[in-house]
Subunit: 442 residues, 2 copies
Amino acid sequence: MRIYDIIMKKRDNEELSKEEIKFFIDGYTDDSIHDYHASALLMAIFLNKMNERETIDLTEAIMHSGETIDLSNIEGIKVDKHSTGGVGDTTTLILAPLVASLGIKFAKMSGRGLGHTGGTIDKLESIKGFHTSLSTEDFIKNVNDINVAVIGQTKNIAPADKKLYSLRDVTATVDNISLIASSIMSKKLAAGSDAIVLDVKVGSGAFVKNYEDAVELATLMVKIGEGMGRRTMAVISEMAQPLGNAIGNAIEVIEAVDILKNEGPDDLRELCLTLGANLVVMAKKADTFEDAYNLLEEQLSNGEALKYFENLIDAQGGETNFINNYDSLPKAKFIEEVFPLKEGYIKTIESDDVGIASLILGAGRENLEDEIDHAAGIYILKKIGDYVTTDEPMAIFYTNKESSIKDAKKRFHSAFEYSDESIEHPKLIKAIVSKDGVTKFK
Amino acid sequence: MRIYDIIMKKRDNEELSKEEIKFFIDGYTDDSIHDYHASALLMAIFLNKMNERETIDLTEAIMHSGETIDLSNIEGIKVDKHSTGGVGDTTTLILAPLVASLGIKFAKMSGRGLGHTGGTIDKLESIKGFHTSLSTEDFIKNVNDINVAVIGQTKNIAPADKKLYSLRDVTATVDNISLIASSIMSKKLAAGSDAIVLDVKVGSGAFVKNYEDAVELATLMVKIGEGMGRRTMAVISEMAQPLGNAIGNAIEVIEAVDILKNEGPDDLRELCLTLGANLVVMAKKADTFEDAYNLLEEQLSNGEALKYFENLIDAQGGETNFINNYDSLPKAKFIEEVFPLKEGYIKTIESDDVGIASLILGAGRENLEDEIDHAAGIYILKKIGDYVTTDEPMAIFYTNKESSIKDAKKRFHSAFEYSDESIEHPKLIKAIVSKDGVTKFK
């Protein structure tokens, strides 16, 4: 088999066999196939597309390019969650203990963030003493004991995906549904869970801009997951504006705890309950979505979810006193109220710009080696549909770099458009996609 | 300007600007743009195509990626010729002195061959003492003195083309008309002549398989040349079988001398006269193609063309006695008659297989560092339309490697198909393409 012939085949819009796809991924992983081969093939795939069968085979080949995690020593159904990325997305911190509190096993491997804010691991590291570098034995023991553990991705998971993603990123071949779906699903499948819920964001702040594309991507990922023998569902949620109110690290931890205390912003709560309800159904702890949703609401109001959160922090060495006293979390030296530049109803919020403003304040990293300022971030007080005046703050900035505030403000304000006429608050959940089809929300 | 945006633009089927194309070629030449960028862009160009304007700009950018030759110290109209490659193609050895004998300046820069047989330089090196490494001063002096000189390509001509071609060759992006045309024309334009005749081969033995594609390629190259201010014409010729009878180096020199003595095979003679007549018209030494053709026939029959060949060999240090005594050229130790495996009319000859058989005998090189055996080659006695019997030889093999004969025979025989019914001898010249359009031959 020769990579030349594989490139030529896809160039000529022919279907690649499972063996050809595996030959490409294995060769690219072991460097016998070069970047220039891969980028020609990626462009041919981008322009001529892959069908469902090819995409499933691509996912499987990428999944097997490195280690796969064996969770068979954990009893029961193991669940996992993936989000296609958003600004201010704190769902994992809430979802993991929430679902675990119903006896469902949440063995979570998370990444660090490269972008506006930290990843789940970065957020958790706001908590004094908390560590995410558990041995495999301790990881499995913790999940068996308290149903939940969150560790950093230390193993060699899907190395082909890392190489492919870096290459796609510099050759304009990112936005292809087969390449996106295989990239996401290969890692999820390698992580070993039995049931996966996918949070597919749609809208101006997401990389999928319209509903139809989101449904197509979600449907393909569900098919890949189910095709590989895992229960898989997807929630399509609006990313017209940042999720919740907090964008940062420590302040997102606070927001998560608020939700677990049955408080906090409605949109973040609703998304966690919706994602969670799908996991509960797939884990067979409820028959219907509604039953599952009600069960989870109960876990928030009766304090069980919060208890599991406390267990999680404690089991991984974290001091838990912050749960009742947020002052023990990292605190910013500079706290600044930000006022609207004009009056009116907020019409649109470019989430990316808000994210970048937060990055400027120190909450994210531009390069992998950058240090994150856990205290930095933005707390948004006004969102789409709210009426603002110039004498009432619309956000609070947190930073340890006073000099960054000016630039951050400029970027933050550029995110907002206003209207004189009243604007509806956007609906968050658009649809749920399962192997049986799409359930549209009204 | 960023290469990412340029790739994205062509990916999205948009037209690239002159500046964008130049940015790509300059960056790729100086290594600031990587192979993986270039191969993604080449695949996007392959699939989404380039229009005429983009192709002309690409050609110009490649032409200026290295040195361009200044022939202004040579008086009169300087002409050049390019062939898209064939098997047994000895035209330059004939065309150069033939045209020069009419006072037209043929300042020829030639390459070495990588493939079935040697290039023009390799063929000429069959001649004792002949050298092709002239200084620029001597090159220009010779052309001014005797109208003709042939040197090896020593200057840094179109380095971007070398890089691009190597990359296209391994990423399945060779067969795109814009990439082919710009590759050929950039080098011809950099070589500095005023008028160019292109020999575009079509058929099973050529890389352009059908007539329509050949006309399209020829038309585009003529437009590029004329667009860059050079007179340009193209001859479309059939490559259904090897040209002439000799495939090798010394034996092709003999065949060229035969033609210059007004003997030799009709097809090779006709092609040289046709290519030459176009150069004569463009050099304004005749008003019509017919007049030019007659003039050139006269130069063959009156011995003038042969005289200029002798001058060329002599001026570059070659011993000229071989012209009247072929025995002084390199001779093969092993000469073997090859007989048909069955009787019948020859229906098809796969030129490539005949070329590879000749390579096996030692006439070509597989790698650039390989030594060529100037004595090796194949002399074909029977061509398409001829009736063969198993007791009459169809070819003669020449080699210094006896062990190669068996493999070469096998490959040679695989090139032939036979018919019981009589087969027409194929017409060689299909059309002439000029800036005024296509003149089809009957």
